[in-house]
Amino acid sequence: MSTRAPIISINSVSKSFPGGVHALRDVSIEISEGEFFALLGPSGCGKTTLLRILAGFETPTEGDVYIDGRDMSRVAPNLRPVNMVFQSYAVFPHMTVAENVAYGLKVSGEDRGTIPSKVEEALELVRLAGYGDRRPDQLSGGQKQRVALARALVKKPRVLLLDEPLSALDAKLREAMQLELVRLQNTVGITFVIVTHDQNEALSMADRIAVIEHGNLLQVATPMELYEYPTNRFVADFIGKMNLFEGTNVGSGNGTLNVVVNGLGRLDIPCRDTLTGDVGLAVRPEKMLLFSEPPGDDYLAFKASVDKVAYQGSETRVFLSNDKGIAFEVSVRNASREDAANQASGSLWVAWKPGDTLVLSD
């Protein structure tokens, strides 16, 4: 992936709005050709502003943006090799589906004779063949979205920008559209940049994800890296669930980190880096196991009692706490009906492999 040339280079981009709102602070990202890239963060974090900078609706206050090797920071939206699928779909209400899809070709002076066949092809691509004569008010939300996709893709952009494309769809349709978008991207081979606040959406679709919070870029990584090796507390907490223990660093080096956590005692964690200062230790709920007997030296194990059990079908979330008041959340997979019937109770050992502990110094 890194060997391919970047189609988008975002270089130290900052954006502030009148009134002193800093939407983005010194963000640099490189996106490769053909990548499915997600901008993930809570609402108001600046991810949509970044997308609008790529589309040309906002200009960066500082820094520049290169698309396809050219500086696009101050180029008008209609002169950029990118197209966008808007959150509201923005399908033109006074045009038919075919006219909507043809619009981009018409205004950019495409040869009139070739337009109908290109429109037909684009509608087929999004599985709306035969819908050309419909009016937008005769379409469902999912169909409008397909029109918006066809309208953008028919222009054969170098990059397709998608602003929260699935947020208005109901849960079932959203899942189907996730697969559909990945299929589409594989078919057309265009770089997709998608903005979302839904971590599941980002994890299941994207090749790489950039996590943004308060205008700061926190981490850019593959979904697996982001989930298993988050580099700071916000990312660790934002993606999935996390047990976090704040500790005091009492010795670091030689591949081991010695941490004293109030209420848990001293923990020895394998760690390649030599760290100074206090650290947070984080463990995913599904990496923790429950034992009725002490599990042995392979595990870090702590005695705790079950406070609450929440059965959720495929898994059960078990909430425990030890006598010092340290809380654990453990996720137990219900691999059989017996597992589902025999829910955890009483006093148990919470245990995990030292290698599954994440060290957060940031």
């Binding site: 209609n78 990118v82 808007f86 509201s88 923005a90 033109f92 981009g104 205004v107 222009k155």
Partner: protein, 279 residues
């Protein structure tokens, strides 16, 4: 069962079942529409005096049609209404788009004063217009239709705020992403205005235009003060005819005016309803 239900007291929103409300409703209808009905009926009255019914005739429509000065006034009215409507629609649309899209110093006061011609008493507006045109020495005795300039300008000044208000109200519901989508697909600013914003505004423009047209056609007070002896409009002409005697000819001319106004207002309302149900 039905007999019993009748005895139930009227519910909180069943105004139609309260006697005093029904009475006031019928009184309103009577005083509002009876004079108009009488006016229309007596336009067919075969009598020079407008008091006793003497049989049915189209004579006075014919007479009104052959009255050259009445037809001239009618032509003047239509010409003024047409020009004032076209200019009001363009001006009103530009005002609405400006107020909707841009932020500029003095926007709030401007938005407030823009609607002033709607609020100001017509008589004051008429006197002000007369004073203004005589103060700047607006030339009279010009050839037709340039001699209608003063009236047309006066009409535009009180018509275009109506267009602006109708269009502005429609723009408030416009999704700005539609325009951005057009820009994103390669349209220039002008193209996105022409292809997206203008079609969206169209029902508002038509409704506002019809409003401006009927306002101009009907206007008496302001026109009376700005009109010269050469530039008599239809309402002003009717007024001068009535000063001599109320003949069925006046009734006939008024009926035609009512008909035109009614048709145009209906079309305007229908267009607005249609655009609302479409959104």
């Amino acid at each position: 069962m039905i007999g019993r239900r009748r005895k139930e007291p009227p519910g909180p929103l069943e105004y139609g079942r309260r006697l005093w409300l029904r009475a006031s409703l019928w009184a309103t209808f009577l005083f509002l529409y009876a004079p108009i009905v009488i006016l229309v009926v007596f336009s067919f009255n075969n009598s020079r005096r407008n008091i006793v019914w003497r049989g049915f005739t189209f004579k006075y429509y014919e007479k009104a049609w052959n009255n050259d000065s009445l037809i001239e006034a009618f032509t003047n009215s239509l010409t003024i209404a047409l020009i004032s409507t076209v200019v009001s629609v363009i001006l009103g649309m530009m005002t609405a788009v400006m107020l909707w899209r841009f932020r500029f110093p003095g926007k709030a006061p401007y938005e407030g004063t823009m609607a002033l011609p709607i609020i100001i008493p017509e008589i004051c507006m008429g006197v002000a217009m007369m004073a203004f045109f005589s103060r700047i020495g607006w030339p009279t005795n010009l050839p037709w239709p340039i001699n209608l300039g003063a009236i047309t300008i006066a009409h535009i000044s009180f018509s275009f705020p109506f267009v602006a208000m109708v269009v502005r109200a429609r723009l408030a519901r416009f999704n700005p992403e539609l325009e951005e989508a057009a820009r994103d697909l390669g349209a220039s600013q002008w193209q996105s205005f022409r292809d997206v914003l203008l079609p969206y505004m169209r029902p508002g423009l038509v409704a506002g235009g019809l409003l401006a047209f009927t306002l101009s056609l009907d206007d008496f007070v302001i026109t009376f003060f700005t009109a010269g002896p050469e530039t008599v409009t239809f309402p002003v002409k009717v007024y001068s005819m009535i000063r001599f005697s109320v003949t069925p000819e006046v009734n006939a001319a008024s009926t035609v005016l009512i008909l035109i106004t009614l048709v145009l207002t209906t079309v305007a309302l229908w267009l607005q309803n249609r655009s609302q149900s479409r959104q």
